[in-house]
Symmetry: D2
Subunit: 421 residues, 4 copies
């Protein structure tokens, strides 16, 4: 339903560990500057017109992402901690609230593309103003408790902004696909991908495992508390499903075989007349292309299949005689000794699991409006694990829980197969 995550325009994808260009080592004020600057870098290839449009209710304009991430700092930090706080603009409290009922009214989500005012220049000024005030606050004298609270909230705001960085890329991709000109976001040619390795099945032992975030580093509330789960032994595929493999499913009539689909998936695929993944196109000569951030490209059979809904991922798994992993299985595998045998765990595509998004046992909702961050979305959504090519460096980790409804296709979402041991 609601959404987070963007990115450093093509991370070096890590295989067994998330990539990290060590933003984490920077002091907080430098980290703040780096993350905020990265958002501007993502918008750099775009015109003001590009930044204003909203291609569907699930996506948001880049301008809105830029303003909303700033609103987050203004509302949850400056308003609480700045002496003599005054809002940059009183109307922005409503205009750039995403879903926090505790903060008050919201501009209707589906009409974010109609906000030609405030103009991009004004939103840039808003960012600039808030940045200066946050920097001032970080440099000010605070008692230890205030300091700790400030650092916690700034860290949260940066993680939040990184989530929106991934969304900027997925939303821009969706927008550009609406024009018959099929324009590229990135001028550079798409780098070649290496051939996919042969798929191997990795045995994972299972047992009574500890699930959830451990250690002192930042995590979201939905990764806690760490708790026990029993996981039976199983096998996990060594890599993601490729475009080439998925094309074989398409060619075998997979989109027209009811037996492979969940009931709701079958209604979904038939009512929309779908025949292939999002952004794929088959020309009159039968050649397949995929729309990418580099514009339309020949379908690369070696790359992981992406922009799949859970429905499509699940149907493919059935067809392949396998199934999706649960999120606990995925996390156990990532923490296991067999981890080194698993490729493409991070930095390629988010990987659908069969687990619905639910609170961990003992989950605590934070008090106040910030408590609306995760808990209220824990229904009719499914968990994805890993990270994608659009996830900012340093943002991913093995306990990270991304989530989307089963029909979402505009994110960089793919799949890794599992099966009984």
């Amino acid at each position: 339903m609601d959404m987070r995550q963007p990115q450093v325009i093509y991370t070096q994808p890590g295989d067994t560990q998330p990539s990290d260009t060590s933003l984490g080592d920077l002091p907080l004020d430098a980290r703040y500057s780096a993350v905020r600057a990265h958002t501007l870098a993502l918008a750099a290839p775009l015109s003001d017109e590009d930044c204003g449009a909203q291609s569907m209710p699930d996506a948001s304009p880049v301008k809105w992402h830029m303003a909303h991430t700033t609103w987050f700092f203004e509302t949850f930090i400056l308003e609480r901690m700045e002496p003599d706080f005054a809002p940059f603009h009183p109307a922005f409290r409503v205009l750039f609230n995403s879903y926090y009922n505790g903060v008050g009214d919201k501009h209707p989500r589906a009409q974010r593309g109609l906000l030609t005012r405030p103009a991009m220049a004004q939103v840039r000024a808003y960012r600039h103003d808030v940045d200066a005030r946050v920097a001032r606050l970080l440099a000010s004298a605070l008692d230890a408790q205030q300091r700790a609270q400030l650092e916690l909230l700034v860290t949260l705001g940066l993680q939040h902004e990184q989530q929106h960085q991934e969304l900027i890329l997925t939303d821009v991709k969706h927008l550009l696909a609406q024009s018959a000109l099929l324009p590229a976001y990135l001028d550079a040619p798409r780098p070649a991908a290496p051939p996919a390795a042969p798929l191997a099945w990795v045995d994972i032992d299972g047992g009574l495992a500890d699930i959830g975030h451990a250690g002192d580093g930042f995590c979201f509330d939905n990764e806690l508390p760490r708790h026990k789960q029993y996981v039976a032994p199983f096998q996990l595929a060594s890599r993601l499903v490729t475009n080439g493999e998925y094309l074989a499913f398409v060619a075998a009539g997979g989109y027209f075989n009811a037996a492979l689909w969940l009931a709701e998936g079958w209604d979904w695929v038939r009512s929309q007349g779908l025949k292939s993944p999002f952004y794929w196109r088959c020309d009159e000569q039968g050649a397949w292309t995929e729309f990418t951030l580099h514009g339309e490209q020949p379908l690369d059979l070696e790359r992981p299949a992406t922009h799949l809904s859970l429905f499509e991922a699940d149907a493919y798994a059935h067809w392949a005689g396998a199934r999706l992993p649960t999120e606990a299985e995925w996390e156990v595998a990532a923490a296991s000794a067999q981890n080194s045998e698993l490729q493409q765990m991070f930095g390629h595509c988010w990987q659908w699991t069969s687990s619905s998004y639910a609170p961990y046992p003992g989950f605590q909702v934070a008090p106040g409006a910030l408590g609306e961050y995760n808990g209220k979305f824990m229904l009719n959504q499914y968990v994805l694990r890993g990270s994608s090519c659009a996830t900012p460096d340093g943002h991913a980790r093995a306990s990270y829980r991304n989530f989307f409804p089963a029909g979402a296709r505009w994110q960089f979402t793919g799949l890794r197969l599992a099966r009984q041991a």
Copy 2:
């Protein structure tokens, strides 16, 4: 989404064990006759007009339930095993198929109420004909393998028909509520309910538990395989939430407090302008009534609150400082030594859990069209445990997994609270 279950017009509700008037002890042919006769008994208070109408796409006409349960025996037993099989009517294969893609076309679900032809008399004749043929088959000489298969399929067909018996009652209740006359299904006065016992919190130990159906008795595929799950210690309420308790939530403005609701639940409750449970009505003097199978009645504060959606159950639990149990917690509690302290586990209301409906580890789908029975519905639905006042005797058990989408309200669905130990 899709649906099963009806009932013996008011079971004696069991507290710690499901009620069983021991249909299970009868030989299969007698059990067949008894279950089939019970469906006719449920239709007895209704006119042919009543039996033909469909009050919403989720519900079905009684006539359709009567024909579809018969179609199940004809299609999955007679067509496979009867020598010289000929269908009772060739069009019925399409008209009374519910959702089995493997069987062929289906009449559109939302238009079942337009099937004034075949007439009720013809559907009764259809039942009579199939009953005679099933009886003949049961009495015929078969080899051991055929006999075993036949008994398995007849048992499945009867369990399926019992599911529809509960649906007949919930669907009739919904239909009768559409008329301004608010007619009663049952002429008899509603029996008085005893006062609710004080609510106690029962400590359940948890640990590494075995979940799923055990033993030789019948169960559905979704209750298997029996497998291990770790359940942390927790507390479960000794009884269901009552109408009186739920009314306090209504009076406290629960339907207007966003902080209590899941995001999708809040959209649901606001877009429909809901203020109270389904079938409740507040007259101009502020007196509350509830529509029942006995017609409209004063709201009985001592009875369990029912006809709640998962959204409402979850919001109430938040308001009460508690939560819903998971389905594993419910099943562990039912099997625990503390079972005797738990009241109203069966025979009152189905109890919402926070668990999404998903396959157990190692779940096997049956081959052929019968494999469509459960697996394909395992998405965006939530599990309910126990049984209701409308569940036929002998149909409930502790491993039973009922399931509905979060917004379903026309079933007899209530809640039992849980909380951390």
Copy 3:
């Protein structure tokens, strides 16, 4: 939007004059009995189940037609004029109000098929009771003014009931078409139709004409006041367009040629994927059938094409190099000396005109709820002239204005071509 008209199960269609089996000569009490009895005769071939179902929001159950026409007499006559009036049932005032805001609340139109209570038997009792009371009132001593008012209202009620008699037939036809059994309303075989005469163009003089109802006979408010309109000379086709002619349009790709359609018609035809008239079906061998009140029949190429929307009628006329007549042209032609050259003016199909339904200059709305009869529907509807095979004898006349939205297809609606002189 709202609706009137049924029929004597196949009138002898008149060509130049409406058929009249001279109900008009009967005294009012006998006319009352005859019209009311005819409604029962129309329902005679139907079961109670058939009478309760509503196949779409635009159609109504037969039971509802039977009750609503009775409600009309009870509300507008008995309630006003009966001493010690008491309603037959207080809830019926709401349940069987069609659209009269002045009378109070209404049961939702789309849910008329859910009124299994009151049962058919109760509706028959309602008719019987009201009939007896109207008869008593007609036989009672009244002063001249009361007598005149009573006779006016009874006449209006009978005309209203005759409108519903036509609707009973069109609505039943639509309902029966929903079942895969395609049952016949009438058991008798469909009578053969004579070959269509060659189409001739009849010159109509035009000039400054008097339009609207003249004389003392009954007419609806929308036929008044009689007024002047200037009509230029034109030509009118001597007969209706036949199924054979319309089939040629279908075969020529008419449903796929945007140039022939009104913009809204093209959206309508494409969004619904239409390829032929309502009730037509082409089997796998290419043979065309049409569903009729006698069940499914081979398409009769000689009969007038019927069940056409205005969109289809207009597109056909474009294709044929002609146009639809205006309603004034139709009425002028019917009153002209050339009338005798015109066939099929009455008793076959209602004939679409290009005239939107609008008040005549000086149109007066009656005071009170009865004033809602016609005026408030005069928007986005188009006028049809003549009468159909389902119009009751004695109900048609040259000044009669039937009207439906441009997309309506379930009425007996066809077309007659016109062109410039």
Copy 4:
């Protein structure tokens, strides 16, 4: 449905004659330059962001208006007449086609706001390129027939562009109203309006009148052929209904009185919960404002009520004991000797008539795609006469037929009362 007309940012409104700053006297090439430059002037107060957004499917982005009007010249003139024609950009043929099926595919209307590419700069270049080529063509040697055809098409293209000039203003107003900032299109303060004159009833003789465009000047196909209509004597209000008068209707509960509304209007007003005209707002102290091109302003009781749907205009007329004029009445009045007694005929608001938009007797559709200009929209739309404050100078005339569906409110649409003589 589809749409035309914009304007010289506040004409001097004519009373009895349309205003004309005599573009008509200019030679064609100078007229071309003037009209094309005026479109740019209308966009001058707007950012590129403003120009890209589409606030609803009925409205279009300013950028799209700028490109589409250029596409019209390119497609209907350059492509036909330019030697060695090559399109400015091949994709523009699809992207900027509005509704001409004869020209080929179209970009979906509701997604015009997603065309961030081509950018505004590219659309300006497109205009520049086409302007130069049209100028070259106008200056080139052509035979008389070609010259005549060219002049006809250029004139048509300019009239078409003027229609879009009015739409630019109405669409921009609608867009700016979506932002909580309620920004002004025009920085200048709103000029004061003079007090409304007392309303007088002007007697119009009627009789057999000539309706439709006469003379040599340009007109659209829908104004032809000139033909006879009989119009009975009637009275027409001397001026438009004012905001003050309309506010009295609002205050009298007009929006809550079903008896005043057309049936479809009542559904419309209730389903949307409307209480006042579009752009009106009542603050918590009960003070009324209206959103204008000068931003939000106090409601000016002396100005004509505008942004009314036909439903609202008709309901007001009922309430006032009057009715709307027919379009023939309006045109007869404008041509009558009493014309001088009629104020505000042009330059204030388009005036709803009760006439549905229909072809005049003998109406001829032009061959080819240009024939799609008017004829195919002649259904379920109603005619407006006069012109508005947003209509370009020189564009209005007494025979002009503007048209919109009955629920359209975002145009400058008001009403003038009529009544029987």
